[in-house]
């Protein structure tokens, strides 16, 4: 049950920061993975904690409720993780995806801390399971949550309740009062009313701004209105904007977002994992004019799926169509909505709303450019087209076996890269100087480590490690007790 907020009422014009009762030692903004880890650790350190979550109970947990795993280094087998995934290998993987755009010290700290966090998570009630069927490639590196991210979020909320954290749902932070690098209180809106809430410290864990299409439009223009948001509609980034307005140091490319090509029929928000489509490498992808525009078989799908969001975003009307034939139907994870299908390419392209003549011509040209050879769906097989522009460099097989299946693709935004800068104690910096009582964790500071690209499961690792540090540090700040040994 959502609890009624009993904070002192306040009207914008009446707010007098510095005056009035202090509600709690630590205020946590955002009830996703990072905020919850922070709240638990601050409470364990002996602080009184208030957690503000913008979503109602049913949608609590931000994007974390959509996650499935946690990337974790380990020297020896650890819980559901077998074998070994050493810190150096992990860091090399990170370097590859970010093309070096990372902070080595912070990154290594997170990676080193991951196995200890794995055990901490288990103690908080998170249950792991071996990697899911169809995700064998992640079985050594990623620990999966039993039931997925929502089960993890549930476990953390229970733990918070048990620790006496005051949890308020439907509570949106709209501004923070910060003076001389010091936080005084937050202006919040709850059920249409504004209140000012004072606290001795604050931990900001409100995610990115991926659900704020107006903000996305600043970088993407009109195209942004055709984007689908894979996760929560509640991450609108106002806390990030306020922090930047107050002079917090920013980090990360303000124009970039992580976007993948997802099923065009997905809901505008919160479609989550099931809307992904893994058919691209085995398909021919056309834009709305019935033309191909990129090498569908450039690399194995886990390494390529993240560029397809941007590729589709760059096409007219931000839409594309992936077409496979019967030969490939079982080669990828099932789609959540049934594919359009037909025994003829003409009818299929018409059903998909494509210009029939042009589309069929493109596919014929593609078919003619394919040659016989050994097809290996799970590895780069070098089966490529000849004389085609753009060419398809792997898995190029003619579409010649009906029925044919088609999917509409649209860009699905996962998260944004712009964030606030923190040091290795999760403390936010203003002009390079540590804030006195402001910490940040999770996606809102992930840009410190993930400057670009993405490594599956690393978002949760960053959020967990930094959330725990932020909670511990804030708790220590208010209680004066060093709890790092706890």
């Amino acid at each position: 049950m959502p609890k009624v907020l009993d904070a002192p009422e306040a009207d914008l014009s009446l707010v007098t920061p510095g005056v009035g009762p202090v509600t709690s030692d630590v205020l946590v903004v955002g009830g996703g993975n990072a905020g919850l880890c922070a709240a638990i650790c601050a409470a364990e350190a002996g602080a009184t904690v208030t957690l503000l979550e913008r979503a109602p109970v049913a949608y609590r947990g931000g994007n974390s409720r959509h996650t499935r795993n946690f990337r974790c280094s380990h020297e020896a087998s650890l819980g559901v993780l077998s074998g070994q995934y050493r810190v150096d290998e992990f860091y090399d993987d990170l370097l590859r995806v970010t093309k070096g755009n990372t902070d080595e010290a912070l990154a290594r700290m997170v990676i080193r801390n991951a196995p200890e966090s794995y055990q901490w998570m288990s103690r908080q009630g998170v249950i792991f399971q071996p990697s899911l069927s169809g995700t064998l490639s992640l079985s050594r590196t990623n620990a999966f949550f039993l039931g997925g991210g929502k089960a993890l979020v549930n476990a953390y909320y229970q733990r918070c309740e048990d620790l006496g954290v005051a949890i308020h749902y439907n509570a949106t932070v709209i501004d923070l009062h910060i003076e001389n690098n010091r936080f005084d209180g937050a202006l919040i809106e709850v059920e249409g009313e504004q209140r000012y809430l004072r606290a001795s410290s604050v931990i900001i864990a409100a995610g990115g701004f991926e659900a704020n299409k107006e903000w996305l439009a600043e970088a993407w223009g009109d195209a942004a209105k055709n984007f689908l948001i894979r996760g929560t509609p509640y991450n609108r980034g106002e806390v990030l904007r306020q922090m930047l307005n107050h002079g917090a140091d920013s980090i990360g490319d303000p124009t970039q977002c992580h976007a993948v090509a997802i099923d065009g029929r997905a809901p505008e928000y919160d479609g989550g994992i099931v809307t992904r489509l893994d058919c691209v490498p085995f398909s021919v992808v056309l834009n709305k004019h019935g033309e191909r525009f990129y090498d569908e078989g450039e690399d194995v799908w886990p390494k390529r799926y993240a560029i397809w969001g941007r590729l589709v975003a760059a096409q007219p009307d931000q839409v594309a169509y992936s077409i496979v034939d019967e030969k490939s139907r079982e080669l990828f994870m099932p789609s959540v909505f049934p594919a359009m299908s037909s025994d003829s390419l003409e009818e299929l392209t018409e059903k998909l709303g494509l210009p029939v003549a042009q589309s069929v011509k493109t596919i014929k040209l593609f078919n003619d450019a394919c040659s016989a050879g050994d097809f290996h769906p799970t590895e780069l097989d070098g089966l490529c087209t000849t004389g085609l522009e753009p060419e398809k460099t792997n898995w190029a097989r003619a579409l010649d076996t009906p029925p044919y299946y088609g999917y509409e693709l649209r860009p699905g935004v996962t998260f944004t890269y712009l964030g606030i800068n923190v040091d290795d104690t999760a403390r936010v910096t203003f002009d390079g100087r540590q804030a006195e009582n402001i910490w940040a964790a999770g996606e809102i500071m992930a840009g410190n480590i993930l400057g670009e690209g993405y490594l599956a499961g690393f978002g949760m690792t960053i959020g967990t490690v930094f959330g725990r540090i932020a909670g511990r540090e804030a708790g220590q700040y208010v209680t004066g007790v060093d709890s790092s040994e706890l």
Binding site: G147, G149, G272, R276
Partner: protein, 370 residues
Amino acid sequence: MSPELIQVSYSLKIDTVTTDHAEAQRQLGICTSCRYCEGYCAAFKSVTRHRTFDVATVSHIANLCHNCRGCYYACQYTEPHEFSLNIPALLANVRAQNWEEHIQPRVVTRHMQRYIWPYVMLTALFVLLFSVAVGAPWVSALPFYSLISHNTMVLIFLPLFVLPVIALILGLRRYWKSIGGKPLKLIHVKEAIASAATMKQLDGGQGQGCNYEAGERYTSIRRWAHQATMYGFLLCFLSTSVATLYHYLFNYPAPYPFFSLPKMFGVSGGILLTIGCAVLIYLKRMADEGLGSQQRQRAEYTFTTLLFLVGLTGLLLYWCKGTSVAGGLLIVHLSVVATFFIAIPYSKMSHGFFRLAALCRESQLSSRAL
């Protein structure tokens, strides 16, 4: 009225109790592209082996589910999300539809799956019958078999037991065919029984228990209560069987002393059964109705209460032996036992047998997958 006619007039009413196949396909289709719940149970292991879900597959999956509700509380797509998933309720409905379809006469199954009155009527009827038969000795301190002879008991109870069991076996056979089951090998049965005996599935997949009475929190109470009920029931059954053997093979009729197999099995089984059922009823009251087959809840409560009464009256009878209430108690006990016998194939009781069949099938399917 012919059974067909009864069925037709029924089908107008049952729409709210059934889940149509398209809805099952829709929900399970979402699950197989998600798979987050794979670690919870055998039902989900089966879900992830499929891309599409025909009627037989859905039936099979439904009978593997034991309504632990893990996959509801963990699901990011439950209402108010537009995908509106509720797998536990969906599978509970499909399961019960299966029983109603395969166990004949269907009209009896339907009534006993959905209403309280068949149980009440049957029990009342038996009380009446037994009272008349033994001359209504409501207040009597006489020992059992001076009230009803052993042979009379057998004469009454054997058909009451055998006929429903035949209905059950025929129903299971129809179900087995409907899910495409192959001839059974010993290994399949062994695997299935091993899984059922430890209620492996009820541990929630990773030992955490299930999300039943405590909402999104995991607990193991339901597992233990169910275990107590099942073993309690089996012990009672064993007690009766041993007593029958004693009687006919060894010419050793009741009453038996406390330190005898029938008594030891009977008393311990009765205690387990009574406590198990009481806890199950309590848990059900605490749990969210919307995650089961809602329209069948009343009948489920009634059936568990019946089982509870079987255990309780049995125990009371033991403790009140030789007192003035024994006669009345005996009549009540025999009546609830008789009602229970009839209810075996038609009530919630059938879930155990269908589960066992589903586990056998699952063992066939997964060993073939190896």
